[in-house]
Symmetry: C2
Subunit: 442 residues, 2 copies
């Protein structure tokens, strides 16, 4: 493999700036990988080699002209195929949208372009970012699922077909595929990244997330994407000024963690359990193992009520007109979503605040919460994308969470450790994630 | 009447500071009024003359000690009886809570105390801040309703039994009684004033509001109450540094208004209609009359879905245990609230953002929206508190609104003009309200 794959994205940009590398060279390296692996991994929903090389050449021309360049100048970024792009289709993983495009770029696409990044292509997604699997396989074992719904986003980075990618999470659609595919996956606090121009599945639960190969790469991209947007009123003002510096610097002293084995510890495979026990033991000065709070069970129920009701509302037209073209997963969810009462829904929304108030007391004594990213490694077969049982709570709370590819489980498949932080504390959170990554790699 | 009733609250505080007046003198003046009028107006749910005079004496001692004093030092403020106070009961207008207290002061009570204000007593509220009327009458005509649900808060200020009071609005519970009673009533933007420790009826719709006799008095109290509170996660950081100054200064040039006659213009009485026509004519350089946007009709429907569902959730226990002690209004609302679907509720919540985005375009060309505060003057009889049809939209949007007692309708009863602003633009909004008040009083 070419040297460029061992470099951090920041180093790539620096080399482009100093004319030691061109964007065309970088993109050619990734195109080589795609030629080799895409036939098996099937990560892409839309990829146009010629268009990519044209954009890369433009980026190089721009650099040569001496004009100022952005923090991601010339870097190709892969986008989950639910993110609106004017120059490529946005099919959202459903035959109903075959060949269809969004009428404008998503806000985050414009932020990428302003930063000098190149939209590399669209990555395969589960049907409408829900549970119906895409064609994508796991790069570590083609007979296993890559996880969902950001299947192609995780798999493209894992197979070195893209240096960075963007996905989304409503249940566990960033953390789960990151864990299964062995890459870093980050879901920021709710309201940091605009969802304007991205397929909406649930106003309260939808988050944009990022895949990369290191915490630093992730932070570099997050810094570009985090921005208040008046067209996504959930977004807040949040300064990213020192985001990358604080990520690199890390915490001032050794962080303390709570480790939740979660209520579903019984479904974790034996080898994965051993890996987690080893991890906990090797950080015994930093980690205390606790029982999962009892109200997490309620949260799973409330998450489902909100998610399925919102699916029923947002896809009511598809259900009415194209019911048979929707997966069984989606049909069943919509049927249930149509049945909940307003009281259930209001209670589910109301409990977010109340339960988070209890939960956040953790951060008076600890710097983060750790847990498995997924209940074991990627399951065999491509008909299911696995389970989000270890992730839904954090989508419901809107806390930052990240999956770090630190362990291996059954069949030597990758296995992620999930770190969760306090809401709107993403600077410190990424610093701690970086610390953890470094400690494990030393 | 004593001179103190003609002074602005800021002037009262200044006189206390300069030892020209004591808090005891001020309170004695109000106690005199209460002696005279309370038997007819019935504004108070809890009033303890001795306790009030003790607190006033303490405030005077504090002043004499030379310690620093707050912006409301020694000023008595009346509180709607849904606001938690440790030294008085909080009965919320229902026999179910007869004699019961909240376990701690509401956040706004602590803010009042920090500012040196005195909690004067608790004012009568409709049952659980909904539609079941309290015993309070309209000070201008005891045979008419004072409006609700902040009935006593409005009536106490209108009858000079209190200089300032605090109420709440979920539908029209500040603007309507302010209009009927002829005082200034202000509901700030959603999220400016904490509702922590106040009876919760609807998370999305509940707002704290203020009654006073001038826009400046209102701004002085608002400045004390507006504060981010981690225990009401709807609250935002909002600087009140220049709130009073900007209110006094007003707009730099003549503001332009839209006037909505609303969809219910047909239910306005003839004399009130004439008063509004005269008002519009006398501001013809500033006002353009427009049709009410068509989606306001949907908003009334959505407001009802959210409000009644939230009542059904928040008062589920009362309904289960004490159904017969609840008014017909409340019982019927809970029955309906139990029937809405989650889809209806999610749609109703979702439409807030979408419709406000359309609505806010008004502020590209105009500085405010005007309308009647209520469809005519206070109706005769005490069995209904009137209608909130002219107010629900602004509770739903969370925009600032204020009722100014500028007109008279049928029977020479007071009639309010409602001014509505853009969300989170309360500084400028109060400046414009002050301008309007001054223009009308000149």
């Amino acid at each position: 493999m070419s040297d460029i794959f061992s470099l951090k994205v920041e180093e790539l940009v620096s080399k482009i700036k100093d004319a030691q590398l061109t964007s065309v060279q970088i993109c050619e390296n990734y195109i080589e990988r795609i030629k080799k692996f895409e036939k098996d991994v099937k990560a892409w929903a839309h990829f146009d080699k010629k268009l990519l090389l044209e954009k890369a050449a433009e980026a190089d021309d721009h650099r040569r002209s001496g004009k100022p360049i952005g923090p991601l100048h010339g870097i190709p970024v892969a986008l989950k195929d639910i993110i609106g792009t004017v120059d490529m289709p946005t099919e959202c993983g459903t035959v109903i949208r075959k060949g269809k495009s969004f009428s404008q770029n998503a806000e985050i696409v414009d932020l990428l372009l302003s930063a000098g990044a190149i939209v590399m292509g669209k990555t395969a997604t589960s049907e409408l970012a829900f549970l119906g699997p895409s064609k994508t396989t796991n790069p570590h074992d083609y007979s296993r699922t890559p996880g969902g719904s950001s299947s192609g986003s995780a798999a493209s980075v894992a197979s070195f077909m893209a240096p960075l990618s963007i996905g989304s999470q409503t249940g566990g659609s960033v953390i789960r595929p990151a864990s299964y595919c062995g890459v870093v996956g980050y879901k920021p606090s709710y309201g940091l990244i605009s969802r304007n121009g991205v397929l909406k599945t649930s106003e309260k639960l939808d988050h944009i997330g990022i895949f990369g190969r290191s915490v630093e790469d992730i932070a570099l991209l997050a810094k570009v994407l985090i921005k208040k947007d008046n067209y996504d009123s959930a977004t807040i003002h949040y300064s990213t000024e020192n985001l990358l510096d604080e990520t690199k610097k890390g915490p001032l002293f050794d962080p303390k963690f709570i480790f939740y084995k979660t209520d579903h510890w019984n479904i974790v495979d034996k080898k994965s359990k051993e890996a987690f026990e080893y991890f906990i033991k090797s950080f015994k000065k930093n980690i205390e193992v606790f029982d999962t709070p009892s109200y997490f069970k309620d949260i799973h129920k409330f998450h489902q009520i909100i998610h399925e009701t919102d699916l029923a509302n947002n896809f009511a037209l598809y259900y009415k007109k194209y019911k048979k073209k929707l997966s069984k997963y989606m049909q069943d969810a919509i049927v249930r979503g149509n049945k909940y009462s307003a009281k259930d829904y209001a209670e589910a929304i109301d409990f977010i605040k109340r339960s988070y108030e209890s939960y956040q007391e953790v951060f008076e004594d600890y710097h983060g919460v750790l847990s498995p990213s997924s209940p074991g490694v990627a399951p065999k077969g491509l008909k299911s994308t696995g389970t989000a049982e270890f992730n839904k709570v954090w989508s419901y709370f809107g806390t930052p969470c990240i999956s770090l590819p630190l362990l291996q489980g059954e069949g030597n498949m990758p296995l992620g450790v999930q770190l969760v932080g306090a809401k709107y504390d993403d600077h410190r959170f990424l610093g701690i994630a970086n610390w953890l990554e470094k400690e494990c790699n030393n």
